[in-house]
Structures are given as C-alpha cells and as structure tokens.
C-alpha cells in the first residue's frame, strides 16, 4: 500500500505542477499583451468621449507600454487615437487609456460608485463649473494609498470635498485577477 500511496501522491503533485505551469504560461501570454500599470482618468459629467475635454486628457503614464504615451495633446482624436473607452457610473465617468482595461471595467465602475456615494458636493445646486483631479493608487488588496490632489481647482472647499471622498472610501475590493500589476494608479477627475 505504501508504494501505491507514493505513486498516487507523486501523480497528484505532478498534476498540480502541470496545471500551475500551464496557467503560468497562459498568464505570461496575457501579461505580454498588457502593460503592467495603467492609468485611468475619471471624468465627471455626461459629455461623450469624443467631446471637448479630450485634449485635456493628459495622462501621467507610468506604463512601460508606449501605446498611450505617444499621444500628443491638442491633436484631434480621429488621427490614430489610442483605444479610449469611457465608462460611466453614479454620475462620474472614467476614461481608460489602452484596450487592456477592457477586462476589468466592472471594477472601475464599482470604484466610481463607491467614491461617488461618498462624495458630498459642497456646491450642489449651484451652477459653478470647477474641476479637481485627485490621484491615488489602489494596492492589490484594494487599499487606497498615496492620495493627493493633482490639479486643484483653486477652491479649497471643493478640493477638500473631493479629497475626503477618496479618503473615507479607504478600501475597495481587491484588484481583479485580470489586472496583473501590483497597483493601479487612478487619476480621478471631479467636475461639476
């Protein structure tokens, strides 16, 4: 019986290693199609993606992939645009550069909803048009860190409200498996 147990154990370990290696290969292939860190910009409002705010979408690109970094500001969108996608949720919109984000739209949608539900607009009801960009990083565990105001609106009250919305959200669900990099950098634009 000892011999059979050994054979069986070896077989099980072999199958596990095989599956591990096979899925590792698959993962590597997927990784090669995808930049390690992608930047996401989230826009408030309902204007279409091809709208006026397009030239302003200047991303801090930390990705090693050159797809999005060769984007030149001010150029019209229809001349070789990077694949851009806009998702909307809860009154906020997220613009994602690079087709690689397609796999985890649901995650960004969820992030938008969480943050939007925590955001209390100090000027709700007023017709003011201001904009603040808050940058932060989502760790793999979903923890939000490195929160800072990137482009202030000049209005401290509004800036603080945006910062607060992100800070009190504190933790998001863990990053989805489709996103393989250890952290996801987000540029979230609050606009009204």
């Amino acid at each position: 019986m000892k011999r059979e147990l050994l054979i069986s154990f070896a077989g099980h370990i072999g199958i596990l290693i095989f599956i591990g290696i096979a899925s590792g290969f698959r993962q590597q292939r997927r990784d090669s199609l995808r930049p390690s860190i992608i930047t996401v910009q989230i826009l408030r409002g309902h204007e279409p993606a091809t709208g006026k705010s397009e030239p302003a979408t200047q991303l801090l690109q930390t990705s090693p992939k050159p797809v999005t970094s060769k984007k030149t500001p001010g150029k019209p969108k229809n001349t070789s645009p990077p694949k851009t996608e806009v998702i909307r949720g809860a009154g906020l919109g997220a613009r994602i550069e690079g087709a690689s984000a397609l796999g985890y739209n649901f995650y960004l949608q969820q992030m938008l909803e969480r943050i939007a539900s925590n955001w209390q607009d100090p000027y709700s009801g007023n017709a003011r048009n201001i904009k603040t960009t808050v940058a932060f990083v989502i760790e793999r565990s979903g923890l939000i860190s490195d929160i800072k105001i990137e482009n202030g609106s000049g209005d401290p009250l509004f800036d603080e409200s945006c910062l607060r919305a992100v800070i009190i959200t504190k933790k998001l669900p863990p990053l989805p498996d489709e996103f393989t990099a250890p952290r996801l950098k987000i540029h979230l634009e609050f606009e009204r």
Partner: protein
C-alpha cells in the same frame, strides 16, 4: 505572478477552506492509491481464476486439486480449494481411525462449510479498503459544500455596512468559495467510479466462488462415495 489565475482562489480561500482543501487532497491521494492497488489485485485475481477454471475443467481429479492451488496463488478460488482439501484430509483420517469409512459422505456438509468460511474471508480481503472509497464518495461533496457555504457566509459578513452591495463586490468572494465544491466533486467522482467498479468485480468473483463451491461439493461427494464403496468392497472381500 505566475499561475495566479488558477491558484488565486486557493490562496484567497481562508483558513477553514484551506483545511477542507487539504483534507480533500489527502482523500484524493488515498482513494487513487486504493485504486492502483485494487486494480492490480483484481486483474490478477480475474486472470488466475480464469486459468484455474480452465485447468480445473480438464482434470477434475481430487489428487490434482492441490497442485492447481500451487499454480495460481492469486486466485480467490485457491483458499477455498486448500480449505476443502485440508478439511477432507483431516476428517477422512478421523473417520478411518474410528472405522466409519462407509459413512464418508457425512463429511460433505462440513467441507462445504469450510469452503464457505474461506470464501467469506477471501471476499473480505477482496473488498478491504473499498469502504474508504464509499466514504469518500459520500463525504467529499459535503465537505466541499461546507467550505463553499462558509466562504459565501464570509463574503456576506464582510459586506455588512457596505453602502452599495453590488454583484461585483460579492462575485470574487463567491468564486473563491466555490473552489472547495469543485475540489469535492473532483475527489468524489473518481472515488464513486472506482467503488462501483470494484464492487461489481467483487460480486463477479463472489459468483465464481459460489459456483466453484457447488462444483467442489459435488466432486467431494463423488469421492466420498467412491472411497466408501472401495472400503465396502474391501471388507466384503475379507
């Protein structure tokens, strides 16, 4: 991280699910080991039984039976044969000592019983460790289900106080939790297959043994008659 897509649910599964996964893994190892052992045992038993029966049909002489049992040691019929022959020798000597040679066919039921005892022992040996497969078949899916239910419970508990519980919040937790059910079924299905296969094989061999017992009983009855009549002739001649 290599292999993340496959192993991530295992790593995220939590302590409780991990323990269940380990138990299931051990169960799987043991049931496959039983499979390897039993398949060899049954294959040898089957082929040697077939060969033994072929030889048996050729020479139905009592003197040759003990020879047969040495030729095919792995056949489950051999213990019956040796038990019968031993019983026959011992009792026959006893009868001869008490000068009751003419009543030798009174021995036949004793021999049959000896064979039946041997048959039940052999069958027990053939069916040893099959109960583990049956237990695995029954318990592994339940263990898996337990892990899943606990994982789902954990997911929902972690949602307490969430403001917008969406499907995307729940889905990762539930998909992690389902891993134990998958493992449970992966362990249980082969075990169920093996169990039913081996029980069927054991039933076949049991039928073979029953037929063999009745055949041997006939042979011993004949032999008893033959010896008795020989003795009677001897006494008549005297």
């Amino acid at each position: 991280m290599a292999g993340q897509s496959f192993f991530a649910p295992f790593l995220n599964a939590g302590l409780f699910a991990l323990i269940i996964l380990i138990i299931l893994f051990l169960m799987s190892i043991i049931s496959w080991a039983i499979f390897f052992r039993k398949i060899r045992q049954f294959r040898r038993a089957r082929s040697q039984t077939r060969a033994l029966l072929e030889n048996f049909n050729i020479r139905r002489e009592l003197t040759n039976l003990s020879e047969l049992s040495k030729l095919f040691p792995a056949s489950p019929l051999v213990p019956l044969l040796t038990a019968a022959i031993e019983e026959w020798q011992v009792l026959k000597n006893e009868f001869f000592n008490h000068n009751r040679e003419d009543n030798l066919n009174l021995l036949v039921p004793n021999i049959t019983e000896a064979m039946e005892r041997a048959a039940s022992r052999t069958l027990e040996q053939l069916e040893s460790s099959l109960p583990f497969l049956a237990i695995t078949t029954m318990v592994a899916p339940f263990l898996g289900l337990l892990g899943t239910v606990q994982g789902v419970l954990r997911t929902f508990l972690s949602l307490r106080g969430a403001q917008l519980p969406t499907l995307q919040l729940i889905a990762p937790g539930i998909s992690d939790a389902l891993v134990t059910t998958v493992m449970g079924l992966l362990v249980a299905i082969p075990a169920a297959l093996f169990y039913n296969y081996f029980v069927g094989q054991a039933r076949n061999l049991e039928g073979e043994m029953d037929r063999f017992i009745s055949e041997l009983t006939g042979i011993f009855r004949l032999e008893a008659c033959r010896v008795s009549s020989l003795e009677n002739q001897d006494t008549d001649a005297k």
